[in-house]
């Protein structure tokens, strides 16, 4: 059973995957990577 009410259901699945990947890269990976160069 898939989760009900997906985020942005009007977008096709590949676009949703790409957008999710990009967002996680920008908002999770980048700050984590930046933290390596901070005190």
């Amino acid at each position: 059973m898939a989760a009900a009410r997906p985020l942005l259901p009007q977008l096709p699945q590949p676009t949703r995957y790409a957008l999710g990947f990009g967002l996680l890269l920008l908002c999770l990976w980048l700050p984590a990577f930046a933290s390596l160069f901070r005190q």
Partner: protein, 246 residues
């Protein structure tokens, strides 16, 4: 297979936080208190999110995405020391990203609620206590009592009747005597068997008969209800006709 696939997908999301694993030794080595705290909290929240999403019950993917968002916000704020509003925005971004990547992960339906148990009315509580007594003795009977399977079957038939009667209070008086008598007899039989008595050949048929009698009671209850419904339907049909509709 499905759950392993789910596991891979989930840990792929969590793996976006890998630089935090490097930050931990760096933070310890160079005594970076704030950065170390951010990395530790971030890793903790991400692992919690991963475990929750992997559990795969209804709503777990959503809660996991929220945890990932909170982790990203804290990492951005404490670890990367960004301006707080930016950190919050990044948290929302990570939440949205996690939702987009986890929306279609299959989830299990929430476990069905247990059926509401009918409260046993006061007059039948003694009967229930006796039934529990028989069960306890059967369970405690080590080595196994002779005919314990037959006794358990009989007790189950009586319990089914008890539960049905409990839901129909108007039937309690007539059924109570039957239940009390049979359970009392059953209890005594189990006690004697526990003391080492050899079961007579007539015991097994007797136990079957008691179970059959309990089933008969249930059949009679059902027949009485069916008959009552039949009468009700007839009365309603008659009333409808008498009010001018043919």
């Amino acid at each position: 297979m499905k759950s392993r696939f789910r596991g891979l997908r989930v840990w792929f999301l969590i793996a976006f936080g890998w630089p935090l694993l490097l930050k931990l030794p760096i933070g310890i080595l160079f005594l970076q208190g704030k950065g170390l705290l951010g990395a530790a909290i971030g890793i903790g929240l991400l692992v919690m999110a991963g475990l929750r999403m992997q559990r795969g019950q209804a709503g777990d993917a959503r809660r996991g995405a929220v945890l990932i968002g909170v982790a990203a916000g804290i990492v951005a704020g404490l670890g990367a020391q960004l301006w707080a509003p930016v950190a919050v925005a990044l948290g929302f971004g990570a939440w949205a990203g996690a939702r987009l990547l986890s929306d279609d992960i299959p989830e299990e339906a929430p476990p069905p609620e247990p059926p509401p148990s009918v409260a046993i009315p006061a007059p039948l509580q003694e009967v229930e206590a006796r039934l529990e007594g028989v069960r306890a003795r059967l369970g405690a009977g080590l080595p196994r009592l002779p005919l314990s399977q037959n006794i358990a079957d009989t007790a189950e038939a009586l319990e089914t009747l008890l539960r049905e009667i409990a839901a129909q209070p108007e039937r309690i008086p007539e059924a109570r005597r039957f239940l009390t008598m049979q359970l009392d007899g059953l209890d005594r039989i189990v006690q004697r068997l526990q003391k080492g008595a050899e079961p007579p050949a007539t015991l097994a048929p007797l136990l079957d008969e008691i179970a059959d009698a309990a089933d008969d009671w249930r059949a009679r209850l059902k027949a009485a209800e069916t008959e009552a419904l039949d009468i009700q339907v007839k009365v309603m049909a008659d009333r409808l006709r008498s009010e001018g509709r043919t």
